[in-house]
């Protein structure tokens, strides 16, 4: 093996140790963790190597390691570790650090990793919503602000979809930009870390977009929805159910939101092609789906919280601030969403509008935090799933450098 020049990155070690991986230095390389891990593969066993690299501050090595993201913090390693080095927690901490590493600007990552920062962000969201709504009310709609006088309550009267879109679409653009850069850098790092063959010009192979979607993303998403890896977890398999609820609710709400966006925001409000779509009657299939999604979201959060509380108490895993931030933020989104709907239907104006404002703020914070907080695992872990399949094909000569065209149909 080639001689490597070692330059430990103390700040990397310190960051991992401070974000839940404080036990990393205890590891003495017995490899029990890699043996008991239900998700580790023979070709690239983990988490032993990640423990060692982190101990030695080899940030670059860890960054290039896709296995970090194939870990679901089952906790089997932590349970069996003879030295109480808690590899599961360490890898979780490494992931948090990786998200921060790929996210720019860093101050947002710092803000979304502390509870006070998140609360501050929600307040900022409230102010932002009020400001946009206030300007909209004063200049365009001329409704009373902040409590429109019209009854029944319609949130349009407070702020129509156009200013909401101004606020949210700009956020979406920003988030997508940050994510694009993050995922691109992540992909390059893990390509290097996986020792993928390079082209003659020194670049790593990248799948063409069509093949990427059909050959890799769709199978990866299918696998994610099936939660097949999560269910393999020995110690924490029951986390999978709650997590699945959340994933499904997010998908449902994503579809609902997009339906409404296209129908109401685009076709009605912006283009005036059709009449108003919202508020929808309760029997409307989209409304039904939205309500089901909302309820699943809250149920999922409580299931996850319950399991996490139990496992934390048992010592199978540790829960960092970031874990709880994400759980409570998602809960806040769901609770304020349903709350604003209930108060709207029951015509409690003094509560309906404030809860709606809070809801918009929470959604905005959750959205904005995506590339910067634990929520980012949605993107990076999914990318890792995709990459794992891609790298396997490249290594076995079935993909990369145009090879996938001849064999891509297999997927």
């Amino acid at each position: 093996m080639q001689t490597q020049s070692i330059q430990p990155d103390l700040s990397f070690i310190r960051n991992v140790m401070q974000s839940g991986g404080d036990t990393v230095k205890r590891c003495y390389q017995c490899a029990t963790c890699s043996v008991v891990c239900p998700l580790s593969t023979d070709e690239s066993p983990f988490p032993r190597k990640e423990m060692l690299w982190t101990q030695w501050g080899l940030a670059g090595k860890v960054a290039g390691d896709v296995d970090v993201w194939l870990c679901h913090q089952c906790g089997d390693c932590t349970t069996y570790c003879p030295r109480d080095a808690r590899p599961g927690d360490v890898l979780s901490a490494i992931r948090l650090n990786a998200i921060r590493y790929y996210a720019e600007p860093k101050f947002l990552a710092d803000m979304f990793s502390s509870p006070m920062g998140v609360i501050g962000a929600v307040f900022l969201g409230i102010i932002l919503v009020l400001a946009v709504a206030g300007v909209w009310a004063a200049l365009v709609s001329h409704h009373a602000f902040p409590f429109p006088e019209e009854t029944p309550i319609e949130f349009h009267n407070f702020m129509s979809v156009i200013p909401i879109d101004v606020l949210f679409l700009s956020t979406v653009v920003f988030v997508l930009y940050v994510l694009y850069n993050g995922v691109k850098n992540f992909w390059m790092d893990i390509s290097a870390g996986a020792n993928l063959p390079k082209s003659y010009s020194g670049t790593y192979p990248v799948p063409p977009i069509g093949t990427l979607v059909t050959g890799y993303i769709i199978p990866a998403v299918q696998e994610i929805i099936a939660h097949s890896r999560f269910k393999k977890c020995g110690q924490t398999a029951d986390r999978a159910t709650g997590h699945l609820y959340l994933v499904l609710s997010f998908i449902i709400l994503f579809i609902v939101t997009n339906f409404v966006f296209i129908a109401e925001d685009l076709f009605h409000a912006a283009l005036h092609i059709i009449g108003p779509v919202t508020p929808m009657p309760q029997w409307h299939p989209v409304k039904l789906a939205a309500n089901i999604g909302g309820i699943m979201l809250i149920v999922g959060v409580f299931m996850i919280k319950g399991v996490r509380d139990r496992l934390t108490e048992k010592g199978t895993l540790k829960s960092s601030d970031q874990d709880w931030i994400l759980i409570w933020l998602i809960f806040a989104v769901g609770a304020t969403g349903l709350g604003s709907e209930i108060f709207r239907l029951t015509q409690v104006k003094q509560l309906a509008y404030p809860v709606y404002i809070l809801h918009l703020a929470c959604v905005w914070v959750l959205f904005l935090s995506l590339p910067f907080s634990k929520f980012g695992h949605l993107v990076y872990r999914s990318t890792a799933y995709v990459f794992e399949k891609w790298a396997a094909d490249v290594k076995s000569g079935k993909a990369g450098f145009g090879l996938e065209k001849s064999v891509g149909s297999e997927h």
Binding site: Q4, S5, I6, K25
Partner: protein, 764 residues
């Protein structure tokens, strides 16, 4: 006239296996006035039976034929009565199951043991202890480091006065010159301030402790209880410096011819010009009862050109000892004043040879490396990096906690690996190449400084330190067996040295942490107190503490051959101008090596001498004409080989019934005349079972079995000249845990002898 009572224990299967009536008759025929049996001899009733005979019948010699003599029954200790124990249980019954009801061989075996014990009991005399009147109760402590100071304080606590003699001008030694020390108690994760200043203050405040700094021991003469110590200023010559005998090489001339006694004397005098003779009494000497040798260690500093692959000679490559000096002065900086924020600690200099350490490396060097690594981290908490590259990390006992706590530090990097190269990296630092690391493969690391984990050389490696005015010279013997550490047989006897009354403690005996040194000083102090008592009441010290006897010399027949004075493992014998030995019972450990050495057979003990053992041999019945009944004598060392036999017997192992076992104090005490006695009384072979010797010797008297081995070579020569196969006499090394092999060793020997047939001199 002695009155012998012989008591046969018939329990534990003895009564069923043997014809007890025949044994009783035999004992009476051999001269026992009273012979009784008891099936529970060791019970109060059995003891009472014997006691009654002692008190009412006037029995003053008792033979207990039953369990192994190794089982101690203090209830049989009657004042003025000699007790002999012979083993019918282990050596006869348990180890020789009846061969289909044919018990002839086993019965003969038992009968011989009765005969042998009767032969012995008729010849023993009660020992008369050699008591010293008013021995000094003061202890001399050589060396004022942690071990020495701890010994002094413990002695003071126990009410004994002591004098610490320290070469340097201050007490405390290395322990007083360090920045921090590893913890001496919980919690084991933090470094503490040195404890030496506190100990020094206690010493200075203690009226029972006298301190002589800047002082050395010129010589120490005489015996425990009455040592004469001559002091001198450190580093100067004195007429009382201990004279040094000629080395074996010096006794020969340039042509390899041994010098005459007169020429040797001249050479010796020239060598010791200006020094008083070793027997000369210094009237200014101070008197001490015992000595604690705590002279410590010196740091190993590689010579110029050594360890070139580790860049030794580069100003940024230092030893751990030099690193401690740097740390004591302040922050860790290099010779050029630059802060040393990344430091590599190299534990093993052997590159790819993974079983290779610096000389005198130990757990202490591992623990020191960890401590020094922590200095770096404490000086530079933000960006300090300590690398430890080891082949062996030794953190015994609670130091594991210290090790673990350091592993948890973000700036500590530990890996097993082979440091193959250290070189200037061209940027003002050093580049360290390490191969076969835990990270997988090889690595290079750039550091500001490299620290070599060099060892601690015991002071006794190069100097005598103690400076005995003894016939055998000023230093301890054979310390090369312990790489110069002052030790005798550390597994069994910690603190013991090869000189009775002198107890080693601390770094001179073994590389130790400060915590260990404190405990060691305490242990040696207790040994010193023991010897003070021993000389007062006249018993031996370890391992024969129960022994009140001492070797008696019949000087009229001494030929001044000096074998005893040379061979005594404990230097107990001095001599006069002519070479006549001068015994010093207080220095003697009663091993009998002198008795084994003496060609004139003039040395012996009251209950263990040439005549007694010779009579035992001669009383073994040797059938003249029965080829089925060859006879061998087995001299068995009672320290390890005999217990191994006992264990073998208790585990149901058996061996041939032909050999007769005679326990001896040490194979060193086996006199060649016994072997001649055996062969001339028609025995067919002689086997000696003793301790292992050589580098990892287990002999309780250091050299006994090895000396016996050399003597047996001479015996083999003389047997050959008589036309007797030399294989009939054999020495085998047995350790105490060889109980599963010892019966096989005996059987193999018996088989070999049987193969040779009867002794050609049988019947003459």
């Amino acid at each position: 006239m002695a009155k012998v009572g012989l008591y046969i224990y018939t329990g534990d299967g003895i009564g069923e296996a043997l014809d007890i009536a025949a044994l009783t008759n035999l004992a009476q025929k051999e001269g026992a006035a009273i012979v009784k049996t008891h099936d529970d001899l060791y019970s109060p009733a059995g003891i009472q039976m014997v006691k009654d005979d002692v008190e009412k019948e006037g029995v003053d010699r008792v033979v207990i034929a039953g369990a192994s003599p190794r089982y101690e029954y203090k209830d049989f200790d009657f004042p003025g009565v000699y007790i002999e124990k012979t083993s019918l249980r282990e050596l006869v019954v348990w180890s020789h199951p009846s061969d289909n009801g044919n018990n002839e061989h086993v019965q003969e075996l038992a009968e011989d043991y009765i005969r042998m014990s009767m032969a012995k009991i008729k010849k023993v005399a009660m020992p008369v202890p050699e008591k010293m009147e008013a021995p000094s109760q003061k202890v001399l402590i050589v060396g004022g480091g942690i071990a020495g100071m701890s010994a002094a304080l413990e002695l003071a606590e126990a009410g004994f006065e002591s004098t610490i003699v320290e070469k340097e001008n201050e007490l405390g030694s290395f322990a007083a010159k360090i920045r921090k020390q590893t913890p001496i108690g919980p919690d084991y994760t933090t470094l503490i301030d040195p404890i030496a200043p506190g100990l020094i203050a206690k010493i200075n405040a203690n009226s029972k402790i006298t301190v002589k700094t800047g002082t050395e021991l010129a010589r120490i003469a005489n015996v425990p209880g009455n040592y004469r110590a001559s002091f001198k200023s450190a580093g100067v010559k004195s007429e009382w410096d201990a004279p040094i005998p000629l080395t074996p090489e010096e006794k020969f001339d340039a042509n390899g011819k041994e010098l005459s006694a007169e020429d040797q004397k001249k050479k010796y005098n020239a060598k010791n010009e200006g020094r008083q003779d070793y027997m000369q009494v210094d009237s200014n000497a101070e008197i001490f009862g015992a000595v604690v040798l705590a002279s410590g260690w010196k740091p190993f500093v590689p010579a110029e050109g050594e360890y070139a692959h580790l860049a030794w000679g580069n100003p940024n490559v230092v030893t751990n000892h030099q690193f401690e000096d740097i740390a004591k002065k302040g922050k860790i900086v290099r010779a050029d004043g630059k802060e040393a924020k990344s430091v590599a600690f190299v534990m093993s200099p052997g590159a790819k040879k993974d079983d290779f350490d610096f000389p005198y490396a130990s757990a202490v060097t591992s623990i020191s490396a960890l401590k020094h690594a922590k200095y770096v981290r404490e000086d530079y908490p933000q960006d300090g990096k300590s690398y430890i590259f080891y082949q062996h990390m030794r953190t015994p006992g609670k130091y594991e906690y210290f090790y673990k706590s350091l592993q948890n530090d973000e700036g500590m990097f530990l890996t097993k690996g082979a440091v193959t190269e250290v070189k200037d990296n061209g940027q003002g630092g050093l580049s360290v190449k390490v191969e076969d690391t835990l990270i997988g493969g090889d690595m290079t690391v750039d550091v500001d400084m490299v620290v070599l984990a060099t060892g601690m050389i015991p002071t006794t490696k190069e100097e005598a330190v103690i400076n005995f005015a003894y016939r055998q010279g000023p230093a301890f013997r054979d310390l090369e067996l312990f790489q110069g550490y002052c030790d005798s047989n550390f597994i069994c006897f910690p603190y013991e040295t090869r000189r009775t009354g002198v107890y080693a403690a601390g770094g001179v005996r073994r590389a130790m942490t400060i915590e260990d040194e404190m405990e060691d000083g305490t242990g040696a102090a207790l040994k010193a107190i023991q010897v003070l008592k021993a000389v007062e009441v006249g018993h031996a010290v370890h391992p024969r503490t129960w022994d009140y006897d001492w070797p008696d010399f019949y000087f009229q027949r001494c030929t001044q051959c000096k074998r005893c004075t040379e061979e005594c493992p404990f230097g107990a014998l001095d001599d006069d101008e002519k070479g006549t030995p001068k015994p010093n019972p207080a220095r003697c450990r009663r091993c009998g090596t002198c008795m084994g050495a003496c060609p004139e057979r003039i040395i012996g003990f009251k209950d263990y001498n040439i005549d007694i053992v010779g009579s035992m041999i001669k009383n073994i019945e040797v059938p003249d004409d029965d080829e089925e009944k060859l006879r061998m004598v087995v001299f068995v060392c009672e320290n390890d080989a005999y217990p191994a036999l006992d264990i073998a017997a208790s585990q149901g192992k058996s061996w041939s019934p032909l050999p007769r076992i005679i326990p001896v104090r040490c194979l060193g005490s086996v006199n060649v005349s016994w072997i001649k006695d055996a062969m001339s009384s028609g025995m067919d072979g002689v086997l000696l079972l003793g301790c292992k010797y050589g580098d990892d010797y287990q002999c309780h008297f250091a050299k006994g079995s090895e000396l016996a081995g050399k003597r047996m070579d001479n015996v083999a020569e003389s047997l050959k000249s008589l036309g007797v196969e030399k294989e009939r006499v054999k020495l085998e090394q047995v350790s105490i845990d060889d109980y599963d092999k010892v019966s096989q060793i005996i059987n193999d020997f018996v088989e070999e002898v049987v193969g040779m047939g009867p002794n050609p001199f049988k019947g003459f």
